[in-house]
């Protein structure tokens, strides 16, 4: 760390400032105040963890052993959860790509389109998928399709930004070379841009799929179907042995998704 700072050269300027004791004290005080107000605002009382230990132990005892018989009612919702993520991610990739082209400084056809695309991406991203799900449940009714819509809209924002960054970072040499052959701009895009960025985009898309499977589990809590819905129902009915089984299924799903997407990404890159 010190060696890295020393070679950067900026360290030479930063060193005298670091020795300023007053400044360091003020910084430390600032951090203490920041954490302190956060604890006060969130009613953080560590002693509650100790008094609550008995309650926790009770829940754990009541959820053991997991109700493996509930597995029969878990596999279909699991499929719904995974399919929600797959469809949501696929739709997001399809819509994020053109949006990213507009939102990449080196590719955008015009300044206003760039601004509009960046704005849309910011809005899609800033609103969490859970909130999108609430909105879509109101719009299209309870069920997994609301989840698909929620995941895809939020993912268009997330992917749009990452895709735009990949496009902005790409090597412009081939683009210039093909432009100079007199190729049509669309041909330049499909022959120089797409082959250059496709592996990165696919890798990012797979990573998104893995995240979306996790998100899709939670979306069930707000009525967007899937295993999350089962989990929420079991919780409300105090069926803790069912809850335990659903959590195990959740864990397996998430792990499988992570492994699958990591293995696939490794093959592409």
């Amino acid at each position: 760390m010190r060696a890295a700072a020393a070679v950067s050269g900026e360290a030479l300027i930063a060193l005298p400032r670091q020795s300023n004791v007053a400044l360091r004290l003020a910084g430390a005080l600032g951090i203490v105040l920041l954490i302190g107000q956060a604890m006060w605002v969130t009613h953080a009382r560590p002693q509650d963890l100790i008094t609550g230990a008995a309650g926790m132990a009770d829940i754990l005892r009541r959820s053991w052993p997991p109700n493996f018989a509930a597995f029969a009612s878990a596999w279909w919702p699991s499929l719904v959860t995974v399919d929600t993520a797959i469809l949501g991610t696929a739709a997001a990739i399809v819509f994020a790509l053109p949006l990213a082209v507009l939102a990449a400084r080196n590719m955008t056809p015009s300044k206003p389109l760039y601004a509009i695309a960046r704005g849309a991406i910011a809005v899609f991203r800033a609103i969490p998928d859970l909130v999108w799900a609430l909105l879509f449940v109101t719009a299209v009714g309870l069920g997994p399709f609301a989840g698909v819509l929620a995941l895809s809209v939020h993912s268009i924002g997330m992917l749009g930004r990452l895709f735009a960054e990949v496009i902005e970072d790409m090597d412009m040499g081939p683009v210039e070379a093909l432009t100079l052959t007199g190729a049509h701009p669309l041909a330049v895009f499909t022959h120089a841009v797409i082959p250059g960025v496709a592996p990165s985009l696919l890798g990012i898309g797979l990573y998104r799929l893995d995240e979306n499977i996790r998100s899709s589990l939670v979306l069930g809590f707000v009525g967007a179907g899937g295993i999350g819905f089962q989990l929420n129902t079991a919780m409300s009915l105090f069926e803790y042995r069912d809850v335990a089984l659903y959590l195990i299924v959740n864990f397996l799903l998430v792990m499988a998704a992570e492994r699958f997407s990591a293995a696939l990404r490794k093959r592409i890159l």
Binding site: D171, G173, P174, E176, A177, L178, L180, T181, G182, A183, H184, L186, A187, V188, T190, H191, A192, I194, P195, G196, A198, P199
Partner: protein, 253 residues
């Protein structure tokens, strides 16, 4: 040596819009079919700017650029896109699409000529593949056709870039420091290739070179640029050594 006049630059002047510096002043130069002309000059003498003006990556302030009869300075949009096909350019970096095969990269040079919906959507013009193989043969790399372009050495990549330029079926071939990032042996191969192409393909070759020694050995004619103006324009055999060194001395002083 009196082939058809293919590239004719007249009274070309260019001023950087941002700094107001005159990079090119009243440049006149012509290259005939079958001729290999090298441009020499110190850093900042306007060599690369001149080439980039000719392909209209930059727009000159005044003057004309005649390529096989049409004036590139007067064109824009689709007309420019069409006129550009007559001029191929090879840069210091090969600028290949690294994840595609060598033969695909060569065939992509034909995209300007073979413009249809299929090629715009990303398919390579299939009927150009035999020609692409021929061009690859010309640069001596047929065994590497199926290999990924990213796996090539610098010299090989530059030769593939030249094959791609040939697939464009140009009349004029521009080369912007084509050997600047190659080892000496690869540099010789690439220059010998350009020399050969000028003769066999009736191309007008105009190359910006950094090494005067190589330029004198391979080019028919040397154009010296100093401060954005043509300092001399002589057959390579009649360029005295002092004249070449004077190009570089000026800037150092």
């Amino acid at each position: 040596m009196a082939g058809e006049l293919l590239l004719e630059v007249r009274n070309l002047a260019m001023r950087w819009p941002t700094t107001g510096v005159d990079v090119l002043r009243d440049v006149n130069l012509s290259v005939c079919a079958g001729e290999f002309v090298a441009i020499l000059g110190a850093n900042g003498s306007g060599k690369s700017t001149l080439l980039r003006c000719i392909v209209r990556l930059l727009t000159p302030n005044s003057g004309t650029i005649g390529v096989a009869g049409s004036d590139l300075t007067r064109l824009s949009g689709t007309a420019l896109q069409r006129a550009r096909r007559a001029v191929a350019m090879v840069s210091q970096h090969a600028n290949l699409v690294k994840r595609r095969s060598v033969i695909s990269n060569v065939a992509a040079g034909a995209l300007g000529r073979c413009d249809d919906l299929r090629s715009r959507l990303g398919a390579l013009p299939r009927r150009e593949l035999p020609a692409a193989f021929r061009h690859l043969q010309t640069v001596g790399l047929t065994p590497l056709a199926a290999q990924r372009a990213g796996t090539l050495s610098g010299g090989q990549a530059q030769r593939v870039a030249i094959a791609r330029a040939l697939a464009q079926e140009p009349r004029v071939l521009l080369a912007d420091e084509p050997v600047a990032s190659l080892d000496p042996e690869a540099a010789e191969t690439v220059l010998a290739l350009l020399r050969k192409l000028a003769g066999e393909h009736e191309l007008a070759v105009l190359a910006v070179l950094h090494q005067p020694e190589l330029a004198l050995r391979y080019a028919d004619r040397i154009v010296g640029l100093r401060g954005g103006a043509v300092a001399f324009d002589l057959p390579a055999a009649r360029v005295p050594a002092e004249l070449v060194t004077s190009l570089y001395g000026e800037v150092a002083a």
